[in-house]
């Protein structure tokens, strides 16, 4: 009897504990979700994440040696309470430390809140497959449903149907970036009969014809996708859905299995570690004909061969060239650091413009590129050195100077840099210099942040 009572007590205790644990987790889930909406908390989390987590999970949370923390796939549980528990305990076998003794509870919560705030793509994704009568049948109705299910990967898979005439519907909560406008992009989408609904409202299909787009709302929304296979060919039926920025120059993240395959090749980070790297690639936000140069001090600049000027300066690593060398390479390479200035702000000799400048090429001198160009019969060279991560020196040389002993260098407008020159005077947005006997002069920038 006593045993029975004891067993019953134990059962009640276990049951109570389970309810308590469930309630606790549920409260914690809600709490962390609420924190993810508070900018002051996520800002703190961002700082900690970038100090500690980014080395394995990438600064943009897209994953490196550690998992992608933005997408819908959570190997160790997607609930916020599970995530914070995993951060606390770590995964020793996988090389992830236990952080419960490293950070305070509040700090850990801010990290998880930050991770949750960066969430992208579907959550709770479900699908329905409709049996259509023929290729011309456009009518979606409940009696045509032949299969339904959930997708744990939270990634629409357009290859699920195994019949010829079908429509497929995907539906779930959807996280778009909160801080910027984005679109869904269907590559080669002209023949694709597809509709998108956000929070129950149909989204208008936008041009261009071959690369149609649909505008998303910012942040969380309910998203439904309906695709009718019609007479699409087999390869067209595996639809690629990618979320991009408004002008489609940056592919942000995939939202179909095919798109994930396409974008898996979208990351190849080029970093100058022990020697200077020179790369000619299409670069986001920089004009055509820009040659990027990454210096081991983690300072990078771009020299433009049409304007013969420095059209960009950024701190950090050089470029993610993945978008520019995967698939057809339609998308530009992405600078990996933070801009100090970029075009249309430039560093250039005042009388330089694209009409009067002729780019001659570059030579490698001790691994550094020395660019040569002519302006109105004067020949100049420029190269840059950076010994420290907060300073860069542009060394100019005037060769066969025929016109002038004094030059003006127009400086970019930026609060991130303080300029000086040992060869003259710096005023607000320009430097007036007199080259030394060998024709050399320097312009030095120190970074203010």
């Amino acid at each position: 009897m006593n045993n029975l009572i004891k067993k019953g007590f134990n059962i009640i205790c276990l049951f109570s504990f389970t309810i308590y644990a469930y309630a606790y987790d549920s409260d914690l889930n809600q709490k962390l979700k609420n924190m993810a909406d508070k900018q002051e908390i996520t800002a703190q989390g961002k700082v900690l994440f970038e100090q500690v987590c980014a080395s394995c999970h990438s600064k943009d949370l897209s994953g490196a040696s550690g998992f992608n923390l933005k997408d819908g796939e959570w190997i160790h549980g997607s609930q916020p309470s599970q995530i914070i528990e995993n951060v606390k305990r770590g995964f020793a076998d996988a090389g992830m430390l236990a952080f419960n003794n490293v950070f305070s509870e509040l700090q850990l919560q801010s990290i998880v809140a930050y991770v949750l705030s960066k969430r992208e793509g579907f959550e709770g994704l479900t699908y329905k497959i409709y049996q259509m009568e023929d290729a011309n049948d456009k009518v979606i109705s409940a009696e045509k449903i032949i299969k339904t299910g959930e997708l744990a990967s939270n990634l629409p898979d357009f290859q699920l149907p195994e019949i010829k005439h079908y429509a497929i519907e995907f539906e779930g909560d959807f996280y778009a970036p909160k801080d910027k406008d984005t679109k869904i992009w269907v590559e080669w989408g002209r023949p694709i009969d597809i509709d998108f609904y956000t929070d129950g409202e149909k989204i208008e299909r936008e041009e261009p014809i071959w690369y149609p787009t649909w505008k998303l709302k910012k942040g969380k929304q309910h998203l439904k996708i309906i695709y009718r296979a019609g007479d699409n060919k087999p390869n067209q039926r595996n639809v690629s859905l990618i979320v991009t920025n408004p002008d489609r120059t940056i592919k942000l993240f995939p939202i179909s299995t095919r798109a994930k395959d396409i974008l898996s090749d979208n990351k190849l980070e080029v970093k100058a570690t022990n020697q200077t790297i020179i790369l000619r690639k299409t670069i986001h936000k920089l004009p055509s004909y820009s040659i990027s140069v990454g210096l081991p001090s983690k300072v990078n600049y771009a020299f433009n061969t049409r304007s013969c000027s420095v059209v960009g300066l950024w701190k950090g690593d050089l470029l993610n060239i993945g978008p520019n060398i995967s698939g057809r390479g339609e998308s530009p390479s992405l600078p990996l650091g933070d801009w100090l200035f970029r075009s249309p702000e430039t560093l250039h000799l005042n009388n330089t413009d694209s009409k009067s400048c002729t780019y001659k090429g570059y030579k490698l001198v001790k691994q550094e590129p020395v660019f040569t160009f002519t302006i109105e019969n004067n020949t100049f060279t420029v190269t840059a050195l950076s010994k420290k991560s907060d300073e860069i020196t542009f060394n100019y040389r005037v060769i066969d100077n025929k016109n002038s002993s004094k030059f003006t260098v127009k400086l970019p407008k930026t609060n991130s840099l303080i300029w000086r020159t040992p060869n003259g005077k710096v005023t607000k947005n320009s430097a007036t210099v007199i080259p030394d006997a060998s024709g050399n002069f320097s312009i030095i920038a120190t970074f203010t942040k």
Binding site: I278, T282, S288, I325, S326, L364
Partner: protein, 486 residues
């Protein structure tokens, strides 16, 4: 009765076989390879994206290649060594005396190794007189050199470029897109000819004439090979925005017939899929027999079909026309560049990124070598006043030289802004007579001839004296003109 049934069956079989040949536009599914030839795969540097889009060979056996990633490498004594890097999606390489010229998107760059340490230390802007607008499709192809030391290249149109002028799929935002250009030995750039679409291959003949290929698509009904001549228009209208006398508005109003009348005829049409979708550079066999019996002929790789085909030039009434015939298939990736070396090996540079290829690999380098065996294949085809003379590499078995061993058909293409053209006016042709030459290697076929048609001759039933059949049994002759009777 039994005999009659059998005859009917054979007739049905022949008919169905003919119908298949006649109306299919599929790629040959079989492996075709002349006797005595084999493909050797070159191991490329580990963990390097090695899409080979430019090749040249030096006299000492070195092979220089450039890759879409932007590198230049030297392959010598089975070792790879990097020579240059950081270039912008190069698609051409030429060894030019002591330096190397690279065609990449923004410029022709001359690479020089001044300190002779085996690595380029000078990257000179040799020519860049065109505009590159950062569109992915704006490739620069070339350079090749004529007998006077001038260089030539071609400039691809853009695709999906919002600022570009388009009358179909491809566009130009100006700056000589869709042009061929000439650069003097000193580096002076001149726009040379226009109307090009995706001219992915350019080559110089041993006589110094320049030829180029263009890829099927809008205003290009099927891929083709042209002789490049100054001031000529090659069919794609959007490049005309850079030609005096034309504006975007004027071009939109011009009828197709006006563009057609201005257009140059290709030397050969290259039947879509059956032979090529995306041909690369024409490469002349100048090996004087080291590569087998096809000396002097043109070899071209195809990026999509992962094959090689030959071009058999014929000079008719003083103008080039001729035929194409498949040579070898089943390469590992997309064959975009071909180059013979001094030992008679044909190097094949490959890429499949962005544009799929029959060969499953994304990139690579292979070479074709010949072991001295005389293959049994069509050697050449020439137009006669009454038909064609087909010459083979081996003496034919007399009993196979019958009409039933051959059949023929003709068609033409429809020129328009649509993406490619199906075969139009496809007609089977009756062979009137077949005659074997005295040396047993050639046959003269008498048959009806109509100008401006592609004539396909199938010679499946022919055998050589050893009983061999050919590996490739179809030749496609572009009959721009009939021989004028003297």
């Amino acid at each position: 009765m039994k005999k009659q049934i059998l005859t009917t069956s054979i007739a049905s079989l022949l008919l169905s076989s003919f119908a298949f040949n006649c109306f299919s536009q599929g790629a040959p599914k079989n492996t075709y390879k002349p006797d005595g030839y084999k493909i050797i795969t070159i191991e490329t540097p580990k963990d390097v994206r090695f899409h080979v889009t430019g090749i040249d060979t030096d006299k000492s056996g070195g092979v220089y290649v450039t890759t879409r990633l932007g590198d230049v490498w030297l392959y010598k004594n089975e070792q790879w060594k990097i020579f240059a890097e950081g270039l912008h999606e190069p698609t051409g390489l030429l060894i030019d005396e002591d330096s190397i010229l690279i065609a990449h998107k923004p410029e022709l760059t001359r690479l020089t190794d001044n300190d002779k340490d085996g690595i380029a230390d000078q990257y000179d802007n040799f020519a860049s007189g065109w505009d590159f607008h950062d569109n992915y499709h704006e490739f620069t192809f070339g350079p090749v050199k004529d007998k006077n030391g001038n260089f030539y290249g071609t400039l691809n149109l853009s695709h999906n470029n919002p600022g570009a002028f388009s009358l179909g799929a491809m566009g130009s935002a100006g700056g000589y897109r869709g042009f061929a250009f000439k650069v003097t030995p000193k580096g002076d750039f001149t726009p040379y000819a226009w109307g090009l679409r995706s001219p992915a291959g350019i080559g110089a003949s041993p006589e110094g004439l320049i030829f180029f290929t263009d890829n099927q698509g809008d205003w290009v009904p099927t891929s083709k090979l042209h002789l490049l001549e100054q001031g000529k228009f090659y069919g794609h209208p959007v490049s005309l925005i850079d030609v005096e006398g034309y504006t975007r508005d004027k071009l939109k109003e011009m009828p197709i017939e006006a563009f057609a009348a201005m257009s140059e005829k290709p030397v050969v049409w290259i039947p879509h899929i059956e032979v090529a979708n995306s041909p690369g550079n024409p490469e002349w066999d100048t090996t004087r027999g080291k590569f087998g019996p096809f000396s002097g002929q043109i070899f071209i790789g195809d990026q999509t079909q992962s094959n090689l085909f030959r071009v058999l030039l014929d000079k008719v009434n003083g103008k080039y026309q001729g035929a194409v015939i498949n040579f070898m298939n089943k390469f590992q990736s997309g064959n975009i560049r071909t180059k013979f070396d001094s030992q008679g090996q044909l190097w094949v540079g490959q890429t499949a990124r962005g544009w799929g290829a029959q060969g499953g690999k994304p990139f690579g380098l292979q070479k074709v070598v010949w072991d001295g065996t005389n293959p049994f294949e069509l050697l050449n085809i020439k137009l006669t006043t009454t038909g064609f003379r087909l010459t083979f590499t081996e003496v034919l078995a007399k009993n196979s030289v019958i009409k039933e061993s051959l059949n023929a058909q003709e068609w033409n293409y429809h020129y328009s802004g649509n993406y490619g053209s199906p075969k139009k006016n496809l007609t089977s042709l009756k062979l009137n007579n077949i005659k074997l030459s005295a040396d047993g290697k050639s046959i003269d076929i008498d048959m009806p001839l109509t100008a401006d048609k592609v004539v396909q001759i199938d010679f499946t039933g022919l055998r050589d004296i050893k009983g061999r059949s050919v590996s490739v049994d179809k030749v496609y002759y572009t009959l721009n003109e009939l021989l004028k009777s003297h």
